[in-house]
Symmetry: C2
Subunit: 149 residues, 2 copies
DNA sequence: CTTGACCTTGCAGTTGGCTGCAAGGTTTAG
DNA sequence: CTAAACCTTGCAGCCAACTGCAAGGTCAAG
């Protein structure tokens, strides 16, 4: 009755990650140690597949591996992680709102600055501070320009 | 007629960075090597102060140190960096728009998911994948949740 | 002369989530 | 039997922009 088993590469392919990533999650306490064949190969079952999918789904929702580990721990202790999931996601939502507001404010500043820059002729000089307008308008802020789309 | 000079600590304090950061910028080719006293202490003038302020201002606008170095190079070659500044900032603005759109789309998804979660009772089970709803709705996305505000 | 605040260099560590590599053992197809 | 395609471990490196530390030299005040 016990379903299919998988080598680490099959498991990884099924979820779209690399074997190293699976080992990394194990090291980080997100997956629990796998069963082994006599020769030492890791063997996974469908429950492991589901756990791995959960990890990726939770990551896609913006949870960090540390937060996901916390949820996994709760679950392993038999306590329902649902309340904690809600709290974490609500917190993410608030952080998201703050971030969006911040980026919009910054966008306004940057586009105002660009409008002024476009209205100016190029400076022919190579002044020590390169571009004076930037000095006068760049304020306060430390934007967080994370890449990745 | 040559104005004030500064030790690295004074310079750093004047701009709100640490001496290590100033040395780091020098190593990275953003500041050019400073004059030295006989005993080897770095000595800066007001032009250096302005250059350092420029670096921080440009960072505040979202430019990376690599991009700022490029501007500094242009300036040192006597070519006006203004056109490049405009191009870089326009690019930042576009990236910002993409990012804001992405975060808003993600915000919508997350808040819909939360609404569904709030409507559900806690699962008492500690199922292998922790929380089934999350599995069903978490898609595709890889949000970039940079911290810092 | 001593204390303490400065400065110097070089190099390791931080963050988060992987990714790569080397050196070896195993399994499977032909 | 061999070659390819797996697997194992351990550990270094990546990104950016710093930050910290150790071990030592310098300088001004009292």
């Amino acid at each position: 009755m016990s379903g299919r088993t998988f080598y680490i590469g099959e498991l990884a392919r099924a979820v779209g990650v690399k074997p190293q990533t699976v080992r990394y999650y194990e090291r980080e306490g997100l997956l629990g140690r796998a069963a082994r064949t006599r020769s030492g190969y890791r063997l996974y079952d469908e429950a492991a597949l589901m756990r791995l999918r959960f990890i990726r789904a939770a990551q896609a929702l913006g949870l960090s591996l540390a937060e996901i580990r916390e949820l996994v721990m709760l679950s392993r202790e038999g306590r329902s992680p649902c309340a904690r999931v809600r709290a974490l996601l609500r917190e993410k939502l608030r952080a998201l709102d703050r971030k969006i507001a911040e980026l919009r404010a910054f966008r306004r500043e940057l586009s105002a600055l660009l409008a002024q820059l476009d209205a100016m002729p190029d400076q022919a000089d190579s002044s020590p501070y390169v571009c004076s307008l930037i000095m006068t308008l760049a304020g306060h802020h430390r934007p967080d320009h994370g890449k990745e789309g």
